[in-house]
C-alpha cells in the first residue's frame, strides 16, 4: 500500500477541500511541514508577517469556503491570533497549522527557543483553544489521520477556525495514501432535526403577513448560505435590505432593494420600511453594535424570523433547524404557495444609492465620495471596506450584480481590509472570477498592516487602494478625544510606500486633494481599466464622516443628555 508523510496527507486533504493556496510565514519548527505543501499540489504564499497571513487566509476563506494558515510555534502563531479571533467571531473557516518542536526535543528537559522558558509546550494550544472550534496536537501516527479529519470536519461544521499542531518528527511519519479516498471532509451541513417544522412555521408566518421583507445580514457563516439568498428574494418578490455585515451578499441594483439597515444610521426610507414590516426574514442575523447603528435598531423581535446556523426562530419559537438547508427549501415552498402568489408586489423603490451630490468645490467630502464611487464599481469587482468610516461610508456605494463586497463588521480589527483583500484577490483568481480588487481604508488602519501591499501588488492582482487620509483615527474622534493627539497618526508617503513595497512592479499612485481631481481620475478610462496596481491617497478633512455615522453619534449624544 502506497504511503505518504502526514504533512503531505494534510495538504492533500486541504486541496480536496478546494484550498489551493496556503498562507503563512516560515519558522524553523515549521520548515519540515512546508516541504510538503507543494508536493501536495498546494501553492505557498509567504506573507510579510503572520497577521497579514491570517487576514489573507480569512479573505480567501470567505470566497473559497475554507483556507489554511501555517505559522511556527510560539511567536509565529501568537502574531496571527488577532486574525484568527476575527475568523472565529465572523464564522470564517480558517485552519491554523502550527509547526511544533519534535517530541524528542520537548522531552529533552532543555529550554528551546520560542518557548516561554518554562519547558512547557501547551500554553499556546490552550490560548488558541479560546478561539477555535477544535484543536489538536498530532501525537500518535495511528490516530493522526482521524484527528486531522476531525478538526477539519469541526471547522466546516461550525464555520470557525480549527488548530492543528504538528511536530517536526510526526510530520514525516508515513500514513496510507488511500485514507485520502476512504472518507472525505463534509463541506456542507446536513439538515437540522426540525427543518420541516421550521419551514412550516415560516410559511405560516409569511402567508399571514401583509408586508414581509428580507434582511440579508452577515452572520451564520455568510459564505455558506449567501448563494441561496438571491433565489429566495427573486422568488418572494418583496422589499429586501442588507446590513453593514451582510452588504455584498446580494446585488443592490434591483428595484426592490431598499437600503442598508443600521438603526438611526439608515436612510429614512429604509428604517421606515424595516420597522413597519410585519414579518422580517432576517438571514444570518447578527445584532452587534456596529451592525445595528450602535443598537439604535427598532424592530420587535416577535416579528423576526431569525435564521442562524444551528437554529431558526420564528417569533418566539425556536427550532433546531439550519439556514443552509432551510433556505433553498423555503424558496421552493414559496413557489408552490397560492396564498403568496396572490399577494400584491410591493412598490418598487426609487434608486436609493445613485444620488451623487454636485462635486464639492474643494476637498473631497465623505458625503460626496461614497455615492460617487457607485459608478466606478463594476460587475465582477471585489470590494472590501475597512472598519471605521470606510465601513459605514461604503453603505452608500452601490454593489451591482456580480460584485463581491464584504467588511469585518463585528470583529472590527483595523488593518484587516488590505490583508483580507490579498486573500480574496487570490481566491477570486483561482475561481476565475477576478477582475479588480478595490480596497477602501483609512490611513490609520492601513498603518497596522501596510506591508500587505507587498503581496497585494504581486501575484498578478490589480488592486485599487483608496486611502482615506484624514490625519488619524477619525471614527475614534467620534467616540472620544475629538482633538486628542492620541487620535492622530504620523503622515506617511503612501504613494512612495506603494512603489517601494514592490519596486519591480509597475504601479500608479495619485495624491488627490480635491473632489474635482478625484472625479477626473475616476472618470478616466485608463484608470478604470488599469492593468497595474493603483494607489489613490485621498486627503480628507480630519473631522468629516459619513452621514450615517454622524446620525448615530448625534442620536447617542441626545440620548445621553436626555
Amino acid at each position: 500500500m502506497a504511503e505518504i508523510p502526514i504533512g503531505e496527507y494534510l495538504f492533500r486533504r486541504l486541496k480536496q477541500m478546494g484550498i489551493e493556496t496556503a498562507f503563512g510565514v516560515p519558522g524553523d519548527y515549521e520548515l519540515a511541514l512546508l516541504n510538503h505543501v507543494e508536493p501536495a499540489g498546494v501553492r505557498w504564499i509567504g506573507t510579510p508577517n503572520e497577521l497579514v497571513g491570517a487576514y489573507a487566509a480569512d479573505g480567501y476563506a470567505r470566497l473559497k469556503g475554507a483556507a489554511a494558515l501555517v505559522t511556527t510555534f510560539g511567536p509565529g502563531e501568537l502574531s496571527a491570533l488577532c486574525g484568527i479571533g476575527g475568523a472565529f467571531c465572523e464564522m470564517v473557516p480558517v485552519l491554523h497549522i502550527v509547526g511544533y518542536p519534535s517530541f524528542a526535543a520537548q522531552s529533552s528537559g532543555r529550554i528551546l527557543h520560542h518557548t516561554l522558558g518554562d519547558k512547557s509546550y501547551d500554553h499556546y494550544v490552550r490560548i488558541s483553544s479560546e478561539m477555535s472550534c477544535a484543536t489538536t496536537i498530532l501525537k500518535d501516527p495511528e490516530n493522526a489521520i482521524a484527528e486531522i479529519d476531525q478538526v477539519l470536519n469541526a471547522m466546516m461544521f461550525h464555520s470557525q477556525p480549527g488548530y492543528i499542531g504538528i511536530t517536526e518528527d510526526v510530520v514525516k511519519t508515513m500514513v496510507p495514501a488511500s485514507s485520502l479516498n476512504a472518507t472525505s471532509v463534509k463541506m456542507t451541513l446536513s439538515p437540522g432535526l426540525e427543518d420541516d417544522h421550521a419551514l412550516a412555521a415560516i410559511m405560516a408566518a409569511l402567508e399571514a403577513s401583509k408586508n414581509p421583507i428580507v434582511v440579508v445580514d452577515g452572520g451564520a457563516g455568510r459564505g455558506s448560505w449567501a448563494p441561496h439568498a438571491s433565489d429566495l428574494i427573486k422568488t418572494l418578490r418583496c422589499l429586501h435590505f442588507n446590513t453593514i455585515m451582510g452588504k455584498g451578499a446580494v446585488a443592490e441594483d434591483d428595484l426592490l432593494f431598499a437600503g442598508c439597515y443600521a438603526g438611526v444610521g439608515s436612510l429614512p426610507l429604509t428604517s421606515k420600511a424595516v420597522e413597519n414590516s410585519d414579518c422580517i426574514l432576517w438571514l444570518g442575523h447578527m445584532p452587534s453594535d456596529f451592525n445595528t447603528g450602535m443598537f439604535t435598531d427598532q424592530v420587535k423581535s416577535s416579528l423576526i424570523i431569525d435564521f442562524q446556523r444551528f437554529h431558526i426562530a420564528v417569533g418566539n419559537k425556536q427550532f433546531q433547524a439550519r439556514i443552509t438547508t432551510v433556505l433553498p427549501r423555503l424558496t421552493q415552498a414559496i413557489k408552490m404557495s397560492i396564498v403568496l402568489a396572490e399577494k400584491l408586489l410591493p412598490e418598487p423603490v426609487a434608486p436609493l444609492l445613485e444620488q451623487v451630490s454636485g462635486i464639492p468645490a474643494s476637498i473631497i467630502t465623505q458625503n460626496y465620495l461614497w455615492p460617487r464611487l457607485s459608478s466606478f464599481i463594476k460587475s465582477g469587482d471585489m470590494v472590501v471596506a475597512e472598519t471605521g468610516t470606510s465601513q459605514v461610508g461604503a453603505v452608500a456605494t452601490k454593489m451591482p450584480k456580480g460584485t463581491y463586497y464584504w467588511t469585518q463588521a463585528v470583529w472590527g480589527s483595523i488593518g484587516y481590509a488590505i490583508g483580507g483583500a490579498v486573500g480574496a484577490a487570490i481566491a477570486g483568481k483561482e475561481l476565475g472570477r477576478y477582475k479588480r480588487m478595490i480596497i477602501f481604508t483609512g490611513e490609520g488602519s492601513l498603518q497596522l498592516t501596510a506591508q500587505a501591499m507587498s503581496i497585494l501588488n504581486r501575484h498578478g492582482v490589480v488592486p485599487y487602494l483608496f486611502i482615506l487620509n484624514n490625519n488619524g483615527y477619525t471614527v475614534e474622534r467620534y467616540f472620544e478625544g475629538w482633538d486628542a493627539s492620541y487620535n492622530d497618526v504620523p503622515g506617511w508617503d503612501y504613494g512612495g510606500l506603494f512603489k517601494s513595497f514592490s519596486p519591480e512592479v509597475s504601479t500608479n499612485t495619485f495624491k488627490v486633494r480635491t473632489a474635482a481631481e478625484l472625479d477626473r481620475i475616476l472618470s478616466d478610462d485608463d484608470f478604470q481599466n488599469a492593468t497595474s496596481p493603483q494607489c489613490i491617497d485621498m486627503v480628507l478633512d480630519k473631522y468629516d464622516a459619513p452621514e450615517g455615522l454622524k446620525a448615530i453619534f448625534d442620536f447617542k449624544k441626545k440620548l445621553a443628555s436626555a
Copy 2:
C-alpha cells in the same frame, strides 16, 4: 481629601516607577483611559500597530526597568501577544494595560464589537494569563488601588509582564490621591532566605578553585543585576566571558574578556578556557538552544555556580538566594578574602575581536562585516541585533565600555529588533545616555515590522539601520530548505521605505553592494556623526552566514551522520 480618577492613579503610579512614556495603539474601549496619560505626566507614543508597541515597550523596559503598553480589548491586545510572550520569556517587566467595554455594556446581553460574538468577556484575560505573572480586571473601585499595586509589585518581583484590564466606567471612578504616597511599588528584590549560606558556599568554591571564570549570561532579568556584574569582574580579576544573550551587559574592551561562549560556535580559545575552568560563576545562566550553540556547550554542571533570580546553585547544592542581592555582597567578600588576594592573575587575552580580515574584493561577507563594525561602535551607542544571522554575527563585533547591546536570544521572534530599538532609543534619551541607536537586522525579519521605521525616524532619535539583504531567511536555510522558495522573501526598496515612512524627516539611505563601499561609508566622518536617520541596505550572498553559525550546523550535521 483630594481624589483622582483610577486611570490617572495608574499612570501616576507608573510615573513613580520611572515610566515616562507609554506605548500603544488607541482603540475605542481604551480612549477613556488614554485621557489620563498626559495629565499624569506620562508621554503617549502611538505605534503603527500593537506588535511594534509591545516590542517598543520591551526595549524601553530593558533600559528603564519597566514599561507600559496600552491596547484595546480583543484585536488590540491579541496583536501584542507575541511581544508580551517575549517579555515573559526573557524576563522583562512590561505592564499590558487593556481598555475593556464598560460593565454596563458587558451585562447588557448584547453583542459588542471586538468580542468573539459569544457575550463572554474573559477569553482574553485567560489568554494573557498564560504569559503574565499577574492579571486583573479592575472591578470594585474599593479594591482597585490594591489590585493595581499587586500586579505592579508582582511584575517587578518576577521581572515579567503583568496585565491590567480597565473598563470604560471604572477608569473614571475616583480614588484618594493620597494612595500614591501611602505605599510604593517595590522596585528591587529583598534578600533571599539563604543569601548568607549561598555566599559562604560560593566563597568556599572560589577559594578552592584554580582558574575561576565569570560568564555573564542574560537570564534572571538581566537589567536588574547587570550593574553589579562589572564590579564583580573588576574585583575578582579573572577571565570573563559572555553569551549571546548576555553580550552587552559588561564591556568587552578589557584584556580579561575572553569571548562569547556558544558551544562549538565559540572561538577555540574561548571554548577551551570555559570548558577547562574549575569554577564558573554563571550569572543569569540561560541554557537555551540559541544561547548554547544549539546545546553544543560542554561544561560540567557540578562546576557551575548558577546565579538565578530566586535561587543560586553551587555545584549540586541549591540555595533560596537571589542574584540581585548576593552579587554586590560577593564583590565585597572577594575584596576581604586573603586567599583570593594571593591568587595569581590569569594571563590577559590578546584582543579577540579586532582581527578585521582584508576587505573582500567584491560582495560583503559576514566574515568581514562583523569584525569591521567593531571600530564603528563607540562608547554611548545602543546596539540591537535581530534573531538569526545578525544575532550570531554580532558576537564578533566588540562592544566597548559605555555601549548598551542586547538581542532577543531565547524568544527569538523575528521583527523584534527594530521595534525594540524604538523603545530603547526613547528610554536612552530619557536617561540622558542616548547617542546613536544601531540596528542589525535581516531583511526577512524587517518585513514583519517595517512600519516601526515611522517612529524610529521621529522623536529625535538618530538610528543606523543596517539591513542584511540576503534574499530571504538565511538562518532558516541552515535548518531546512537550503534552496526552498519558502525561504525567499520578495525584494523591497528599503531606502524608499525608510524615506516614505517619515517623509518630513531628512534621512540618508545607502544601497551597498561591495565591501569596499561599506568600508568607505563606515569610515566617513559625516556618516559616523550623522544627525539624521541612516539606512544601510547591504546586499549579501543568500547562503553566507557568520562562522559561528556555520560551525554549529557543521557539528550538528556530523553528529547526525555519525
